[in-house]
């Protein structure tokens, strides 16, 4: 793709730099280089949750003057929102993600069930299916409970499913602490009753994806990346997996999945702002995103691609993923998100593994974050 860009833009040469695999290490690399003031690169990929933080730090260029609103309209609104801070555009949407529910359509079909709209329904379906299947290895609902960002996302989706949220209007976390405690209690209950296996407290995306992919569970909360793996030839669950919105806590209430993904931003120190923007534009163009979608792995931020016949033929779930993404919601768009998340992770984990009561966890997280944010309220 870079070669194609260079061919189309004589005079511009692009050098790609490969960053460490995990998001944590990528961020560390970027923070160190940008804080040093001599980044040595022009365009960078940012996890969507870092954009406001990097913008506030003054590390990335305000792209607003060079970008027309029409250009952004083709992307998912939540992706555009994630690249916006203080009403200005700081990064171009590139890769899209959304939390969704995978279910075993063969098992649900055998017992005459439709994908569950509420958790109560889901628990009932798990009970009936496991009783009927008499397969001791069949788990109910898998999700990500390891102490890491994924746990925060799962809790966040739990809060939304219960009609509350993580960050209130005043910028404080857990605006409704009792609701938050209730959500944590519910997640504990999933483990206590065996609806989710005890090991979800060590489960990340890959651990849970593998178990579900081996046919060991009825439901899985994950991201769209897994769908093509489940449909690979030789997969034990091939042709037996359906996609649905996450269940809610109350009939009739929507439970959005958390959106995620990556954006392209340009360093403030760049010597080539025009060329860098040109490259970012090219990489986020329909053409480039189509090529990335066709290769599997990532999903595009451009909505139209989810309905292109050629792409849909190769990946029939695309239109469904489009709808689920459209219904998704961004994690709090705040410069303090990473700070919040890392503060929350051990506290939420402590509540799940019963080292603390949910009330204690919520209170401790609030106190700690208050210390961190003391001088920072805008």
């Amino acid at each position: 793709m870079l070669a194609e860009f260079e061919a189309a833009h004589p005079g511009i040469r692009v050098k790609a730099e490969v960053l460490p695999w995990t998001s944590d290490e990528q961020r560390q690399f970027l923070v160190i280089n940008l804080e040093g003031g001599q980044p040595g690169f022009d365009v960078m990929m940012l996890d969507c949750i870092w954009v406001p933080e990097f913008a506030r730090a003054g590390w990335i260029l305000d792209l607003t003057p060079g970008i027309t609103p029409d250009e952004l309209a083709a992307h998912f609104p939540s992706a555009v929102e994630a690249g916006t801070y203080r009403g200005r555009t700081w990064a171009l949407p590139w890769i899209m993600n959304v939390g969704l529910l995978y279910y075993r359509s063969d098992l649900l079909g055998r017992y005459g069930f439709r994908p569950p709209a509420t958790y109560v329904e889901m628990l009932e379906q798990i009970r009936v299916i496991r009783a009927g299947e008499k397969n001791r290895k069949l788990e109910g609902y898998l999700w990500q409970g390891k102490q890491y960002e994924g746990l925060v996302v799962n809790v966040l989706e739990g809060l939304w499913a219960d009609g509350t949220t993580l960050v209130g209007e005043d910028g404080r976390i857990f605006p409704d602490p009792e609701r938050a405690e209730q959500v944590l209690r519910f997640m504990r209950m999933l483990i206590d009753t065996g609806a989710s296996p005890g090991w979800v407290t060590a489960g990340d995306e890959e651990v849970t994806r593998r178990a579900f992919g081996n046919g060991e569970a009825v439901f899985l909360r994950s991201w769209p990346y897994a769908v093509d793996m489940f449909e690979k030839p030789g997969s034990p669950v091939r042709g037996k997996v359906g996609l649905a919105p996450l269940p809610s806590h109350e009939a009739g209430r929507r439970a959005p999945g958390s959106t995620g993904g990556a954006h392209l931003a340009i360093t403030r120190q760049t010597l080539h702002p025009a060329e860098a923007l040109e490259l970012a534009r090219f990489l986020t163009s329909p053409r480039a995103q189509r090529a990335m979608t066709a290769s599997g792995a990532t999903k595009p931020t451009r909505m139209a691609l989810y309905h292109e016949p050629e792409l849909v033929r190769a990946s029939p779930n695309l239109p469904r993923i489009h709808d689920l993404t459209l219904a998704g919601r961004t994690r709090p768009v705040t410069p303090y998100y990473v700070m919040m998340s890392t503060t929350l992770q051990p506290e939420l984990s402590a509540a799940l593994v019963k080292v603390k009561t949910p009330a204690r966890s919520v209170a401790d997280a609030r106190r700690r974050l208050d210390f961190f944010l003391r001088d920072l309220q805008e």
Binding site: D24, R27, Q28, V31, E35, E53, R56, A57, G145, K146, Q147, Y148, P197, G198, W199, V200, T201, A202, G203, V207, A211, E216, P335, V338, M339, S341, T342, T343, Q345, P346, S349, A350, L352, V353, K354, V355, K356, D364, R368, F371, F372, D375, L376
Partner: protein, 299 residues
């Protein structure tokens, strides 16, 4: 020892131009100063500030960061985790290392192959080791639970098991280091000593406690020094395997420092943790150096 030998050497060195020795070590001292002393002092200075570069906060805070640490349960938990991890893993490595070295000594032919296999574990990058143990500890399909008779232990997700699981992984990884040190020392013990002991009718236990162990003492002290300092600073295993979880039960001081520095971007707070770890390491090193001096192993 001939009477004139060592004394003459001392005489010669005293006749050197004053300061010549200092001149000779100056480059090394300068390099050390630039690479070690300066960053150490800088971290000490940072630890007295409230500094959040991303958000432009920068002011002198005095002991505020230390006061926060002193009242932060998560910090004390990290200190406790670090100490438990260090004591347990070093103790197990010492005992295991000596036992394996003894077993290897008995069979010189197989020893070379055995050592190569052991060293493989030590040569693996920690992150690879961590990933390996992620598989071994997998609750559903991991080898560890299989070997334990198909139990369903949630190694990395259970607050009671996660730290022991990490300690085992660390022992697996660094036991070869102790083994190799001990094995080399064992080979240097004259066989006559054992033959004499046998003639005196000493049993296996007496031979071990009266001959082998005293002769291993010095090398074990060195092993303890290296391993303790490493364990106090350990980071990669827990960072990759558990991220400090569940519930912070495997969060060591260095993981705590990392989270403060790079994730919460609290430079002052993270530096304060760094200073604490530094002090801890210096304290331990000082204690061991005293012990080694006592043994005549250090000046």
């Amino acid at each position: 020892m001939s009477p004139g030998g060592p004394a003459a050497t001392v005489m010669r060195s005293e006749r050197r131009a004053p300061g010549q020795g200092l001149l000779l070590v100056a480059p090394a001292l300068l390099a050390l100063g630039a690479l070690t002393l300066y960053p150490t002092l800088w971290v000490g200075w940072l630890s007295l500030q409230r500094r959040i570069p991303i958000f432009g906060v920068e002011r002198f805070e005095g002991l505020g960061n230390y006061i926060f640490l002193a009242t932060d349960p998560r910090f004390w938990k990290a200190a406790q985790v670090t100490l438990v991890f260090t004591v347990a893993s070093v103790a197990l490595e010492l005992v295991g290392g000596v036992l394996v070295a003894l077993a290897l000594r008995g069979q010189r032919a197989g020893a070379r192959v055995g050592l190569s296999f052991l060293l493989l574990a030590w040569a693996l990058p920690s992150v690879v080791t961590a990933k390996l143990f992620e598989w071994l500890y997998n609750p559903a399909a991991g080898l560890v639970n299989f070997l334990l008779g198909g139990v369903a232990l949630n190694w990395l997700g259970d607050p009671r098991l996660a730290l022991p699981g990490l300690i085992l992984a660390d022992v697996w990884r660094t036991l070869p280091f102790v083994t190799v040190l001990c094995y080399a020392r064992l080979l240097a013990i004259p066989v006559e000593l054992y033959e004499a002991a046998q003639m005196d009718g000493a049993g296996a236990v007496a031979t071990f406690t009266r001959i082998t162990l005293p002769l291993l003492r010095r090398i074990l002290l060195i092993a303890v020094l290296f391993r303790t300092l490493d364990a106090l600073r350990s980071f990669d295993l827990m960072f990759v395997l558990t991220g400090g979880g569940p519930a912070g039960t495997t969060e060591t001081l260095t993981v705590y420092a990392y989270r403060s520095l790079f994730q919460a971007v609290q430079l002052g707070l993270g530096s304060a943790v760094g200073v604490v770890v530094f002090a801890l390491v210096m304290l331990v090193a000082w204690g061991y150096l005293r012990a080694l001096r006592h043994e005549g192993l250090a000046a």
